[in-house]
């Protein structure tokens, strides 16, 4: 079980409202990702759920029971920290067994559980090493191991992959997703990386300045962002925004088109000059300066024989144009 319900949760440090008031329901077994730029309050929100910080007001309920004032240890949650927070003076075995020892479990039971977790995470051969002798990925796995032995009702991850190099990050990302599929336990995952959010989440919560901008599945957010912030934050490369005449033509203050939704065709409505080109083989990214003076990024699939200075015409795909009002909200 791992249903977490936030009601009007507010957090302020002194006069500063870090989180002005959030309502959020996380269902049992869901993989929820909190995503947003740094300083948006996503880590604070996670720490509130963990019990490492007090809420200023509002309630947090876990499995229907009010947990707002419970200490972290009593909430039945496990957390994986950004720095892994392994105990450097303990072996991997002792690290993983620590929460069990604190719970007063018998030695035999501890050993059995550690054994099981180590098998799941391929840590069998490292059990007697210390964290200092492990690679980043292995440390990450130990931190996860320490979390899963307790069989918590939900896992909390605080930017767990940000200290790993790019290649390792992709691998760990898949491992965590697979872990979720096999454990089917609620996971709450905080990241600033929208790619991680898109690839891992059942449900994404986009946060900005302590407010929830939008909650939805990855594709919901991709296809129908509720406002300019979400539109710009989700998707890579970023969505192009155009104002002025082009926007007016669609009866909007701003229109947005994703780079992958712009075709290079003869006789398209937009004329421009190719600036920077990046040839990746599978895709080609073009930076095009339109004659109106605005710049758009275009993602063309495959190899495209265009270079700096070439004149081209572009056409946005029909039905893929997002319209936004003057308040930044999406227009229906």
């Amino acid at each position: 079980m791992g249903k977490i319900q936030l009601s009007q949760v507010r957090k302020s440090f002194g006069d500063v409202d870090v989180i002005p008031g959030i309502d959020l329901a996380i269902e049992d077994g869901e993989f929820v990702v909190f995503v947003g730029p740094s300083g948006c309050g996503k880590s604070t929100l996670l720490r509130l759920i963990a019990g490492l910080e007090d809420t200023t007001s509002g309630t947090i309920a876990i499995d229907g029971k009010d947990a707002t004032h419970l200490p972290p240890a009593k909430r039945g949650l496990a957390m994986v920290f950004q720095s892994y927070a392994l105990y450097p003076h303990m072996t991997v075995r002792k690290n993983i067994a620590f929460p069990l020892k604190m719970a007063g479990m018998s030695d035999a039971e501890q050993a059995a559980r550690v054994e099981r977790a180590a098998k799941v995470l391929n840590l069998d051969s490292y059990l007697d090493r210390r964290p200092g002798q492990l690679s980043g990925g292995q440390r990450q796995r130990v931190a996860i191991g320490r979390a899963i032995v307790r069989e918590p009702s939900a896992f909390l991850f605080d930017e767990p992959l940000s200290n790993l190099d790019a290649a390792l990050r992709v691998g760990m990302r898949q491992e965590i997703t697979e872990l979720h599929q096999s454990l089917k336990t609620t996971m709450i995952y905080v990241t600033h990386d929208q790619v991680e959010a898109m690839t891992m989440a059942d449900k994404i919560v986009v946060l900005n300045a302590g407010r929830v901008e939008q909650v939805g599945s990855p594709l919901e957010l991709y296809h129908s962002p509720r406002n300019l912030f979400v539109a710009g934050f989700i998707g890579s490369p970023k969505m192009n925004f155009l104002e002025g005449a082009e926007a007016a033509r669609h009866n909007a203050a701003t229109v947005g088109v994703r780079p992958e939704h712009i075709d290079i065709v003869d006789g398209g409505p937009w004329q421009g000059t190719v600036g920077l080109t990046e040839h990746l083989g599978s895709d080609t990214f073009l930076k095009v300066t339109l004659d109106t003076g605005e710049t758009v990024n275009v993602r063309a699939s495959g190899e495209v024989g265009l270079h700096h200075g070439d004149r081209i015409t572009l056409a946005p795909q029909a039905g893929k144009i997002h319209r936004f009002g003057a308040d930044g909200k999406a227009l229906a």
């Binding site: 240890a73 949650l77 957390m79 920290f81 720095s83 003076h89 320490r146």
Partner: protein
């Protein structure tokens, strides 16, 4: 910032550096040499270096005829006792200030340090009277308390700087793992900070061992440690150079050896982490 240099230059700087070092060390060396001379040889004019009569007699005399062992034991009990007691009070305090800092933490630390600036003589009489009234005068317990309080600000400061280097996330992880505050300190913080705690301990034993105000003024005979012993020994000077030197050597050698082991931590410790 050591850089490669020509062998000639290295030779010159080595010579210069060793000369300076020997000049600084010479008084200690001369004292140790004197302690192995006969009394006559110790005061011979011109001074005798290699031609002196060497003997171990001074050490024997000091050891057997004076109460040296008692003074030595008092020194050990007082310096170790005050340090351990200080650590017991300081570890929780340093935990608080390092991991749950508030707006006033810095002021609190500065205030603690400022208590060390209070001239000891200013409070000598009241303390003397209070100690006599409550029966702590000339007792080891009294000196343990006095030296503990004297060094407490330094102990707290040192621990604070060591604790600051431990990431708070690890303690939070322990909290998530179900550790109580006590378990968090015993199983996670203390083992992680052990090197820092050890050097704090070492440095404070040294400071307590060498303390020479309270140890002289708050004792007469029973609880007097080596510092008081030496201060009293120096009174009948002149004829006892060799024995005085032997007694001095025996008073400083334990701490000299401890100090040599801890010199790297000493810098960090006494500068409260400001110089590493």
């Amino acid at each position: 910032m050591a850089r490669a240099a020509s062998p000639r230059r290295t030779l010159l700087t080595t010579l210069a550096a060793w000369s300076v070092a020997l000049v600084i060390f010479f008084p200690v060396l001369w004292m140790i040499l004197t302690s192995f001379k006969t009394e006559a040889s110790a005061v011979a004019m011109p001074p005798e270096f290699l031609s002196a009569d060497w003997t171990l007699e001074n050490y024997e005399t000091v050891w057997s005829r004076s109460d040296y062992p008692r003074f030595f034991w008092n020194s050990v009990v007082i310096s170790v006792g005050s340090t351990l007691l200080g650590l017991a009070i300081a570890i929780p305090a340093a935990w608080s200030m390092a991991f749950v800092p508030g707006k006033r933490t810095k002021d609190l630390l500065m205030w603690m340090l400022s208590t060390k600036m209070m001239p000891a003589v200013a409070v000598l009489i009241p303390l003397y009277l209070v100690f006599q009234r409550i029966g702590l005068f000339d007792t080891k317990l009294g000196l343990i308390l006095a030296l503990m309080l004297m060094n407490l600000p330094i102990i707290i400061w040192m621990l604070y700087t060591y604790f600051k280097e431990i990431p708070g996330e690890i303690l939070e992880a322990a909290r998530m793992d179900g550790a109580s505050l006590w378990n968090e300190i015993v199983y996670v913080l203390t083992p992680m900070a052990l090197p820092g705690i050890a050097s704090t301990m070492l440095l404070n034993i040294i400071l307590a061992w060498n303390e020479a105000f309270w140890t002289i003024t708050l004792t007469t005979t029973k609880a007097a440690p080596l510092s008081a012993f030496i201060a009293s020994f120096s009174a009948p000077q002149g004829l006892f150079y060799a024995k005085l030197s032997a007694a001095s050597a025996m008073a400083i050698l334990p701490i000299l050896i401890l100090g040599w082991f801890s010199q790297k931590q000493l810098v960090r410790g006494l500068t409260f982490g400001a110089v590493k």
